[in-house]
Symmetry: C2
Subunit: 334 residues, 2 copies
């Protein structure tokens, strides 16, 4: 892993970010898959608090550190791939053993880790990230070097984010074959509340609808798909949803209003046809989203780069290559 | 298709039901798949009101009738595979052109067609059915001879259902490789409200949660699976749900209470961990359902056969072979 990004800042300075060594803290599904994807090169090392996981990663041929300190010390980039409750301790350890280094993460919410970095991060530089990839399985044994193939990967761009750091992360992630979506933590958390956290809540509620043996016997495709993510380990799902409280409450309020309307329509003896037509149209719009689009380039030295990147993310576009003098990007054409 | 069932009734009489000719009215996904599955034998013929569908079925090598009357006349068994709103007219046509024949159907609700048969069916004998198989695609072009492989197929057993007719249908359906589940229409409709109709309502509500382009961009596995059935043609889903009004209102009330609780827990700053644990346990119980079970036989001449079959269905069991002197069945061992 060698990343070398130059960013001509509006001031005229040139900032060069070089990432040659990466530490991955937490080797579950996502961290383990990252370890596998970044390869067994000598400049990537992993750490997990579970000795069995460390043993499995070492047995698979990867460099494994025996402590957070030894993993983080000297790394150009530290990737936090642990559950969120472990973040404050990990961040403090990294700030202590590798002050000033670049930190990213793969947590499924982004405002909470941003706040944790602000409180515990000292001089660390932070670019929050979220790969939109996963499965209902978990743990290193479920990890897969191909988990991120073609995945969408949000990289947070805030007022305080140094652009050269963002570009270095974007270069790394785009180099994995991922689509890098720029967004603020707030925009990200609002979006995933609806399209990721709400599905988990609905799935858990639906699972209870198979309340007797005849129902369990008859449950088939619509129940299986509608409850698939209810099979995720509940502590992981709860940690994800609990940490996106406000946005998920809002998404649930909207869903409750929609479902209450549907119930009332049905109870009044009217047809659910308009309700299902609305849902059908919304799904078709999603299925067709991004069918047409255009490639274009952005100038990493442009003064309005931050604004342009965030506009790209809001339009459903992404960056897929970061070169020294240009960013290659794609945006859907409505 | 030759079905010949003997049933020793408690009275001592022997009833012989012979089914050698079958008419399928409606050649959409289910009816078309049945036509394909039952084969191009000369004793199976299909009818559809759409000339294009009739042409496609004929071009695929099947016997196609030009009218309901010519399809139904003389058939030992008439299978209604049309949308529910068409049932009253079809039932009256069958009662007029083939009075006294055996009728079954594949509608996804069972109380409504039962009532339609009572009102419009004259001397027709009726065994309601529901194959638990489908896809979000529809129409004859989506039909597939293998759609029913290993499927669960409910056959309704009511007080008024003649046992020899039920056994003839069970023999036909088990002969397709399906698991025949005996249940009353009320039991069936209660169960499917929760495990089939509720998933469709939740999917339609969830589809709307991808409300902007960033959300559409980030939506991935949990959204895709949670909304899959929202891609079903809305008029089909609405017809299914509208015709199971009371049971679906009850299922929605339960889901709304569960989701409101989850929202309140989250809003109060508490963890959703217990909520997700309950959902996880419910899903695991479904996944593990029927992992262990036992085969046994039932005597078709037993005086308590109707009671035993309904008990079998409530326990999540099924009949998988109907022979002249015994029924082969399976029930899960808790």
């Amino acid at each position: 892993v060698v990343i070398d990004t130059r960013c001509n800042r509006p001031s005229g300075d040139v900032t060069v970010i070089t990432v040659t060594s990466v530490a991955i803290l937490g080797l579950g599904l996502i961290g383990g898959s990252l370890l596998r994807r970044l390869g067994s090169a000598h400049d990537v090392r992993g750490y997990d608090p579970d000795p069995g996981t460390r043993g499995a990663a070492a047995a698979a041929g990867f460099q494994v550190a025996a402590s957070v300190a030894s993993a983080a010390t000297g790394a150009d980039l530290v990737l936090l791939a642990a559950p969120l409750p472990a973040f404050p301790g990990l961040i403090e350890a990294v700030a202590s053993h590798n002050p000033g280094s670049l930190v990213s993460d793969v947590a499924s919410v982004k405002a909470t880790p941003r706040e944790m970095m602000r409180v515990h991060g000292g001089r660390l530089r932070y670019v929050g990230g979220h790969p939109m990839a996963g499965t209902e399985r978990s743990g290193f044994e479920a990890s897969d070097a191909h988990l991120f193939d073609g995945a969408t990967w949000v990289l947070c761009l805030e007022e305080e984010t140094p652009l050269p750091d963002w570009l270095a992360m974007a270069q790394l992630i785009a180099g994995l074959g991922c689509r890098v979506v720029p967004a603020t933590a707030g925009e990200h958390d609002h979006a995933v509340a609806g399209i990721s956290h709400l599905p988990h809540v609905l799935a858990a509620a639906l699972a209870g609808a198979a309340g007797d043996d005849l129902a369990r016997k008859l449950a088939a495709g619509s129940f299986r798909d509608g409850t698939r993510v209810a099979g995720t380990r509940p502590e992981l799902t709860a940690a994800m949803c609990d940490s996106n409280r406000d946005a998920l409450v809002a998404a649930l309020d909207t869903a409750l209003a929609t479902l209450t309307d549907a119930r009332d329509v049905l109870r009044a003896g009217e047809s659910l046809r308009p309700f299902f037509s609305t849902g059908y149209d919304a799904r078709q719009r999603w299925v067709g989203f991004g069918m047409g689009g255009e490639r274009f380039t952005l100038d990493p030295a442009a003064g309005n780069l931050r604004t342009e990147l965030l506009r790209l993310g809001r339009a459903g576009g992404h960056v897929d290559e970061v070169a020294t003098h240009e960013l290659h990007a794609w945006r859907p054409v409505p």
